[in-house]
């Protein structure tokens, strides 16, 4: 039934857990919409015929709706609209809240290509390898203008904004190759900004990763890629550590827990920080990026606003590498283990 509906509606193959949710709601919405529009249309057609004009100056009755009728006019659509919204918002919350055990991949849009970096492992241009049946969190940014990362088969999309990270996650259900498109107009070759997601069975993915680490395929892909934009060191954490030194981060931030001019990096990621303005914030990729670009925006309580901005001084991959380095300075690695769907608190 739903296969047939998908064919009628020209929906692409549904290859993620989110796609299944989306399609169900889509069928519900299209179904009720069609029934309601047909009802309204048939009523109108019946009236056109039944009440056609017989005399040029025919007089009509004065008909006005009762309060009950008007109440029906308002409440029936409202109930349906709110039901759709309720289901839709639940699913939206689900897809914008990655499970804690999701595997991270950094995605960077650049006129006109997609670059993918794995925290531990290879970089790639226009090809993203992911394992099947395992949640993958995408941390998306842009190097220049706005882009939008869209995989029709997964039904996911998220804008790529320069100087900021956005996130979305998915869990691919079927191994295969799926197209990635850019949906935010980004200039001359907007329509050529295509990439693909290769979903591999878990085992093959592990093998692929191992091969990448050995550097065999890495060399080949680096040769194809625009090398100036891909971090030369495959392991982002190592690169981040080097950058933290050369960019002067470590002059003010310690990595051993001792307090200095700025907060220590040790255990910073995922910590809840008290801010100068009395609020608190959980340190995530977005907050770390913002603190590099606009250090005074959310100042941690007890520290002076003395950090210079790194806006324009760090490239997208460099920012990602430093973020990854900071993330590596935390205690347990929750990325291990099988997915059990959204888990908002890591089970230690």
């Amino acid at each position: 039934m739903s296969e047939l509906l998908n064919d009628i509606l020209f929906l692409p193959e549904a290859a993620s857990t989110f796609a299944e949710r989306i399609d169900k709601l889509h069928h519900f919405v299209v179904g009720t919409t069609m029934v309601m529009s047909t009802a309204v249309g048939l009523a109108a057609l019946f009236f056109f015929f039944r009440y056609r004009r017989r005399l040029p100056a025919q007089a009509t009755e004065y008909v006005v709706p009762t309060l009950k009728t008007e109440f029906l006019f308002v409440s029936v659509p409202l109930v349906f609209f709110l039901a759709w919204f309720g289901i839709g918002f639940r699913d939206f919350t689900w897809v914008t809240t990655p499970p804690k055990d999701a595997m991270d991949v950094y995605v960077m849009g650049k006129q006109w290509m997609w670059k993918f970096s794995y925290p531990e492992g290879p970089n790639g241009v226009n090809v993203l390898h992911v394992p099947a049946n395992r949640p993958v969190r995408l941390l998306i940014t842009s190097r220049d203008v706005l882009h939008s990362f869209y995989v029709p088969a997964f039904r996911i999309k998220m804008d790529a904004l320069p100087g900021r990270y956005t996130q979305i996650w998915f869990e691919a259900t079927k191994p295969g190759t799926y197209q990635v498109l850019c949906t935010e107009y980004c200039g001359l070759s907007h329509s050529k900004m295509l990439a693909e997601v290769v979903v591999l069975p878990e085992e093959e993915y592990e093998n692929w990763i191992k091969e990448q680490r050995r550097g065999r395929l890495q060399d080949r892909q680096d040769a194809l890629a625009d090398n100036s934009l891909v971090p030369p060191v495959a392991r982002m954490v190592e690169q981040g550590q080097v950058l933290a030194g050369t960019q002067g981060c470590l002059k003010c931030h310690s990595v051993d827990g001792s307090q200095h001019i700025g907060p220590t990096f040790l255990g910073m990621y995922d910590r809840v920080e008290q801010l100068e303005d009395g609020q608190s914030i959980r340190v995530d990729e977005a907050y770390i990026t913002q603190s590099m670009m606009d250090p005074g925006a959310h100042l941690v309580a007890g520290y002076q606003n003395v950090m210079p901005t790194y806006q324009g001084k760090l490239q997208g991959p460099e920012t990602a590498a430093i973020v990854e380095y900071i993330k590596s300075l935390r205690t347990p690695n929750v990325r291990e283990g099988a997915s059990e769907g959204p888990a908002y608190d890591a089970i230690q």
Partner: protein, 556 residues
């Protein structure tokens, strides 16, 4: 007139305007070019707007066809990528700022508002003329920019692309900024006219629903347009001098641009469709000879849409990285717009109930309108359902949706208005048979153009694509075929209406036997609309009740 011509020879055939000897129709009251370009008569200003609006519609339409021909094949067809990017930008800009926004308010609002209120003119006639020249000034500056360099940002001018692009941003944005003033001036003029110029007897709840719709539209124009004006200035300055408002490389925020842009551009959708709703309320009542079913509900829902329309802009940004909660909030508010529109649809269908339907050309457009509004509105609600917007955002589904509701509904209303009020404006009638044929062609062509685009969106084709993967081709070919049918329909309309303008039969004062207030004056009306003492309006508009047949209860 020269003294000799004012004395007709005995027995001579009277000239058509002889009838209004002392009160010639506004069309012949002064025939010099000066008497037109410097006129302060709202009807002449309305006609001049009609001329320009149609001209820009032709320009926008030609570019729409070029886009459709380019998309006939997956790769390059008739132009290169840069030309294509400029073409869709030009199509969007011209259609939205030069056609859709002024089409119904500036043409029919201008022409009819004073007539429907029993007034001699709008409140500020000179300001009214000024709004025409501001509009033309802005239009030509923008078009000049488009032809000398050409803008390739799309009509949304999203930063940081618009801050970086080397194409001509400044004159185009400044042109659009100037056009905004025309919108504001017209809006203020209409608001003041409705408040102060109503004839005795026309209370707020006896105003024709077209007036209600124009009033609600004017409120949006006055409140929202300044925001986009300032925004366009900021982008221009950013592009020219490198200010860092929206460019993250200089510490700016590109999402701030989107908030400001949609704060205007979402209500702007209602600037386009609310007048269309108003026209349809008039047309459905006139051709089914019925009072409006639920007059107050329709009037209040116009205000409701105008109000809620200001709080729904964030649904353009569900995947822009705004917070999940914000997405939900804007999603709920979007649903309310849908409910207000549903009220209108039900009441229009209710108006036909127990009516006396005369299936003339404008009524055929009403049928098309009903379909486009229901279908466009429903797909709008589907897009407002946050999770469904994730895959659909920025695909052809959105393109099809907004063409259905904004373009489909507005074009239907514009053509219905043009046919319904053609005798009022020119005192002549058009050929009914051609009218119905072309209406059928247009409705069919429109569906054939945009229904495939819904499916393209489902299938995942992003908008603003110059080239596309093979699998999208069949639907693109279908869409292009529909567009040519649509163009054919418009050519027929242009031909028979131009013919009617010159050779059409005299229509008489009220050819539709309508009880709309505007038909109480002559067709075409004299310069000051009503001859003799101040007109009074004892009945509510569209009161077709047979006094013997029914008692009149109080309206709900």
């Amino acid at each position: 007139m020269t003294p000799s011509s004012s004395i007709a020879a005995p027995g001579a055939t009277p000239a058509p305007e002889e009838h209004h000897d002392h009160h010639p129709s506004y069309l012949v009251d002064g025939t010099t070019i000066k008497s037109w370009v410097l006129t302060v008569d709202h009807k002449r200003i309305g006609l001049m707007f009609l001329f320009w609006v149609l001209l820009f519609f032709l320009v926008g339409g030609i570019f729409a066809l070029l886009i459709r021909v380019e998309l006939l094949t997956p790769g390059p067809t008739i132009m290169d990528a840069m030309t294509y990017n400029r073409t869709f930008t030009l199509h969007g800009l011209v259609m939205i700022f030069l056609f859709m926004i002024p089409a119904i308010p500036a043409v029919f609002g201008n022409f009819l508002l004073p007539l429907m209120l029993g007034a001699k003119d709008v409140a500020f006639p000179r300001l009214n003329l000024l709004s025409l020249y501001i509009y033309l000034g802005g239009a030509f500056l923008a078009l000049w920019g488009m032809l000398n360099g050409g803008l390739d940002t799309g009509w949304t001018f999203y930063t940081p692309y618009s801050a970086h692009t080397t194409t001509t941003v400044a004159p185009v944005l400044f042109g659009a900024f100037i056009i905004g003033f025309s919108s504001i001036v017209t809006g203020i003029n209409f608001i003041v006219t409705v408040h102060t110029m109503r004839a005795p007897g026309i209370t707020w709840f006896k105003m024709p629903l077209f007036v209600w719709a124009i009033y609600a539209t004017s409120c949006i124009q006055v409140l929202a347009t300044p925001v986009i004006g300032l925004l366009l200035c900021l982008v221009t300055v950013e592009n020219l001098f490198g200010f860092g408002m929206f460019d993250p490389a200089r510490g700016g925020d590109p999402v701030l641009f989107q908030h400001l842009f949609w704060f205007y551009s979402h209500p702007a959708v209602y600037i386009m469709v609310l007048p269309a709703f108003g026209v349809m309320s008039e047309v459905v009542a006139a051709y089914s000879r019925k009072n409006i079913f639920g007059y107050r509900a329709v009037a209040y829902s116009s205000l409701g849409i105008a109000f809620v329309g200001f709080f729904a802009w964030g649904h353009h940004m569900f995947v822009s990285g705004q917070s999940t909660f914000t997405g939900g909030l804007f999603g709920v508010l979007t649903m309310l717009v849908g409910v207000f529109t549903a009220i209108k649809v039900f009441n229009w269908v209710g108006t036909v109930y127990k009516g006396a339907v005369d299936f003339k050309t404008p009524f055929a457009y009403f049928c098309g309108f009903l379909f486009f509004t229901v279908f466009g509105g429903m797909t709008g609600i589907a897009l407002g359902t946050v999770s469904l917007d994730v895959p659909w955002h920025d695909t052809y589904f959105v393109v099809a949706h907004f063409h259905f509701i904004m373009v489909g509904a507005t074009i239907m209303a514009f053509l219905a208005a043009l046919h319904y009020w053609f005798p009022k404006m020119f005192g002549r009638t058009y050929h009914e048979g051609w009218g119905l044929v072309s209406a059928a062609l247009i409705i069919l062509g429109f569906n054939a153009t945009f229904i495939p685009q819904f499916l393209l969106g489902n299938n995942g084709m992003p908008r603003r694509y110059y080239e596309y993967p093979e699998r999208f081709q069949a639907l693109n070919v279908a869409s292009t075929a529909g567009a040519s049918l649509l163009a054919f329909g418009f050519i027929i309309i242009a031909m028979y209406l131009t013919y009617a303008l010159v050779y059409g039969k005299a229509s008489g004062k009220n050819p539709w036997r309508s009880k709309g207030y505007e038909w109480l004056s002559e067709s075409p009306p004299p310069t000051h609309n009503f001859v003799g003492p101040q007109p009074v309006f004892p009945e509510e508009p569209h009161f077709y009740v047979d006094p013997k047949k029914a008692e009149v209860p109080d309206a709900v």
